[in-house]
Amino acid sequence: MAELELLVALNMIPYLGPVRIRGLLNCFNTYSDFMNATRERLLSVPEVTPKICDIILEFRKKVNPFDEIERIQKLGAKIITIEDEEYPRLLAEIYDPPVVLYVLGEASVLNMESIAIVGTRKPTSYGQKIAEQIAGELAEFNINVVSGMARGIDSFAHKGALKAGGPTTAVLGCGIDVVYPPENHELMKKIIKNGCVITSFPANSKPLPSNFPARNRIISGMTRGTLVVEAAEKSGSLITADFALEQGRDVFAVPGSVFSPYSRGTHKLIKQGAKLVECANDILEELNLRKNDSAEIKEPELTFEESEVLDMIDYTPVNIEFIVQKTKKPPGEINAVITRLQLKNMITLLPGGYVMKI
């Protein structure tokens, strides 16, 4: 069992990944032992090349794990190591698990059944809706919804889970004391209250682009499966899906319109064999978790005009102008009917003047 200080120190040295750290841990057990190690001794570790050795020698003096631990405690956070009970079991199974995790919030959720929901930072209203909905459904089954707290789908997944009162975990690509993106300040507070925020990066780390693949590896690694809601052809969410496959986890994808550029990525995944997901049940089934028959929603009563207009609206965006022309009714009347349908929760108005069924 290695000392906490040693693990924290190793985690703080740049260019040392989980695999090299594991190699070093085979030779060193205590912090002082590591600090006093000569160049020759360090080089005797098979994972350490001369170049890495120079980096270790340079940085081991600069990093101060005692300060770091104290600072984390002051923040109300804690550090869990790979040997701790609270460390996510599934994550420990992957090839390169981080040796330490910084946790803010309720660490016990980390070992609940977890599903990751990821997607584009610029979702369509459809993607926002479905991410929120599925996250909510999963939360109702007491499944921990894991995501990256990024803009877009990630935020909606967290929100959906929180709305349903379920647990949720955000995996950051920066230090635990950094809020990124800044507008998610409030969301982060809520997540900490109902679940937890974790990261493998030392305090004060900036959200560098290179951090995110490492973050994505944790998201997919700590969950049974990863659901991609919307992803353009080249999207970071697809990296998460790739990690999930490498780690032997399931990949799920939500289909979209074939015309929507934001569904290209998810369709590609489905073509490659990812399971098509319409609702949370599709995921639960695959993972042999509990099943549930969702209650039918009662249809509200509609007037003749309302149902006439509703018939013309689909689950893909429809131009209001198109409805006016098809019904040959004055646009004023159509607008009024659309407001009523909106209030009856049958349709949603999209920016720009499209409507869509919900």
Partner: protein, 510 residues
Amino acid sequence: MLASLKSCAIYGIESLIVDVEVYISNGLPAFEIVGLPDTAVRESRERVRAAIKNQDFDFPIKRITLNLAPADIKKEGPHFDLPIALGILAATERVPVNALQGYSIVGELSLDGKVRPVNGILPMAIEVKQKGLKGIVVPLENAEEAAVIKGIDVIGVKNLKEAVEFFNGKYKPGKITPDIDAAKAADFEGDFSEVKGQEVLKRALEIAASGHHNLIMVGSPGSGKTMIAKRIPTILPSMTFEESLELTKIYSIAGLLAGKSSLIKTRPFRAPHHGITPVGLVGGGRIPRPGEISLAHHGVLFLDELPEFSKEILELLREPLEEGKITISRMNATVTYPASFMLVAAMNPCPCGYFQDPFHECSCPPHKVHSYLSKISGPLLDRIDMQVGVLPVVFSDLEKVNSTDSATIRKRVELARNIQLERYKGENIFYNSQLTPAMINKYCKLGKAEKLLMKEAFEKLKLSARAHNKILKVARTIADLDQSENIKEIHLAEALQFRNLDKYFQYLKV
């Protein structure tokens, strides 16, 4: 050797009578103009000297002193040439001094003595009538413009000689009848029927025109925002005589009265580019000139790509949007130009234009969209009642034959405006858009069912508080278009659709 006659000076969009006094005395030959002349007035010495000689009159080789009274107001422009020349000729007894009485004289001279047209004739003619003068002597090209004002003699002259002969009783000018009715409101460029499809947008514009609501169109590139905006003046009610007189005054001063047209009958449509300077927009300059907002008086000011305009420019619009006029303070003077216009703005939802478009990928990073949308400040947005989403034309639209034309819509707009004028008699406002919060309580009463709808809408559609009054104002206009005394549920339901820009802001908050 003293002569005095009258001319006019321009101040803002008004004119005032100026006395031109000439005194010729013995002494060293000199020619001095006093009474705050600007450069153009001072230079008239050279033009007048040449013109008098080239028209075969004698220029006195004496000491000439010329005074423009009142002496404390700056005199600008070249239109003092003709009165100065006539004054000199009167002082040398080539023109009978008595004959000049009761006439105001304006005109620029060329070196050979021809009279050139000048700007601002209409306000001058109005002033001449108000001051009870007999008539006005103007360049022939400007005669029709001046003749719009009834009850004064308008004498158009081609050259200096003609003016001299007129005052000597040798020249009788023909009567000038202005073509007031020639320019009928019907000859617009373009018509709503040429815009195929877009019935939803046309309806929105009809409502905006009826209640004089400012409107913003939001939509992807190529959806026809500019094309349709250009045709808005065609659905506005035709101008009253007073309105067109006021507008013509502005154009007269700006020197934009094209050719001979005497009165502007069509409502203006001004679409300044977003590179416009503050002075170009609101007016001003060393010699104050009305800006685009005044040229759009009683008409439409169209600002395409609204967020591309600088913040400074957009903030300048706040005063005229509120007051219907703009006051410009300069070192020499403070002038007020009328600027009561309907603001129609268009914008893309983001720099690339496809933010939240279901069929195109938006290439803008989120913070760019945010900074783009937030260029439209809250106070400006507060003055815009309607936000309309504009969609690209569906292909099948283009084949459609029947499309509502402007004349039909204009009739409905006129009807709705008359209802408003009737209702707001004695309230000091004319249109629904001008309703103050207190008046909204008075004129936009809601029944029980309507109140319920409003409450439900606010909860479910996440409307902002500032949207509340605007929805009521727009609903009032829709009810007026329907000739309904009370705002009904259907009117309110329709009014709730004109909050499209807010939608984008909602998506941004994520």
